[in-house]
Amino acid sequence: MSEAARLENGGAAALEAPLGLLAELTHRCPLQCPYCSNPLTLERVNGELSTETWCDVLVQAAELGVLQLHLSGGEPTVRRDLAEIVAQAARVGLYTNLITAGVLLTQERLKDLLARGLDHIQISIQDSNAANADRIAQYAGGHAKKLEVAGWAKALKLPLTLNAPIHRQNIDSLPDIIELALALGAQRLEVAHVQYYGWALKNRQALMPTRAQVLRSAELVAKARARLKGVLVIDFVVPDYYARRPKPCMGGWGRGIITITPSGKVLPCHAAQTIDGLNFETVRERSLREIWRQSDAFAAFRGTAWMREPCRSCEFRELDWGGCRCQALAFTGSAANADPACEKSSHHAAFTAVAGAESQAPAQPFAFRRPSPAPGGR
């Protein structure tokens, strides 16, 4: 036992059951961030699962082997039954993480969630600069409210992760964002370069940083990590338009994570509905275990059998699992192609060139995340 690290990432060994469940409780959200990971067609409130169904799904998830629950949205605190859902998660032994913008919380409600068994809170910020943050979220006073909520979390000793999506319109604030995480008493900071799916893909030109900006952000994070060892854990997500190899999206399709949408559709990743021809079953129709093990949508890109060249014979095929299916579809026209983020993809040069060109041009106005008009108008 000479080496200090006697830990391995638990994700690698878990072929048989998902470790994490991302529960999108609702797509309603008071913020309008132009890089939202929700689909462009947002689900409506009248299709949302009931409290009882969510509580049943959590029992099924724990029995299937899920260890961690991420309560997300939209904005999960919009749901008035959030405390009941948290209590049920604690009852069935799930590690419970609330992913929130924070702006709708009160101190009393946060205290209640903690009492019901909430383990961790993740608060997103749009910038360290309040005016720019509120402009990006299209929510006046939002940033100040988030800081207040972070203060309540600290006072309640509820562990806090600050999540900062990074793009060309806030990347220069990165040093201040790191200082803000320290000042708020966060244990973790996610410096997460925006991933270009859904709303972010729609707004890619207005969000894409230059290669030089990305490299500088990586240097800043490396220095901060060394300086803040044992004080602040910093996770860094790079934008793969400037990468040489794709990331193992979701740890591999149908390998470690399940997403459930507000209406109960069960997805291998939150963007999977952009892939035509896949039939996503819902928890109203079938058990979570059956969907995970047997549904066509999970089987479609699980493992390596679906791969074409260059993935099929690639030495990294069981490390990156071919990268992201949604990105392959969006950029190359087929979800079964290699992710264009991979330098072995014949589309890689074009992919990189798009980022280079878009990041150099003046930013277009944002298309803010808003529900599409109801069918037939108002």
Binding site: A4, L7, N9, G10
Partner: protein
């Protein structure tokens, strides 16, 4: 601009009394028949030795007492065990898994 109230890195010494913070859960994972450490956005799998150490971290035993307890279990010099236990706990403290 360092202030007295700034958070400091926890340095593990023989006299430290380590324990798991409330939000870190050491739990047996029945579906996979193994022990896991559940932490924010992380699932860690301790090996048998790390597990032995973590299960002795009860907020009352010092690092030295943990090494003493393990010396009876492992045939190794106590100084060596104390060094290894300290290194492992330092690594866990840097990951936010241990407080003292």
């Amino acid at each position: 601009m360092s202030k007295a109230s700034d958070p400091q890195r926890l340095l593990i010494a023989a006299t430290s009394v380590p324990t798991l913070p409330r939000h870190i859960k050491l739990r047996h994972d029945a579906a996979r028949n193994r022990w896991t450490i559940l932490a924010p956005e992380r699932v860690l799998t301790p090996d048998a030795i790390a597990l032995d150490i973590l299960q002795l971290c009860n907020g009352e035993r010092s690092v030295e007492a943990i090494a003493d307890a393990l010396a009876g279990q492992y045939a190794a010099p106590k100084e060596r065990i104390l060094t290894d236990v300290t290194n492992l706990l330092q690594d866990l403290a840097d990951k936010g898994v241990i407080k003292a």
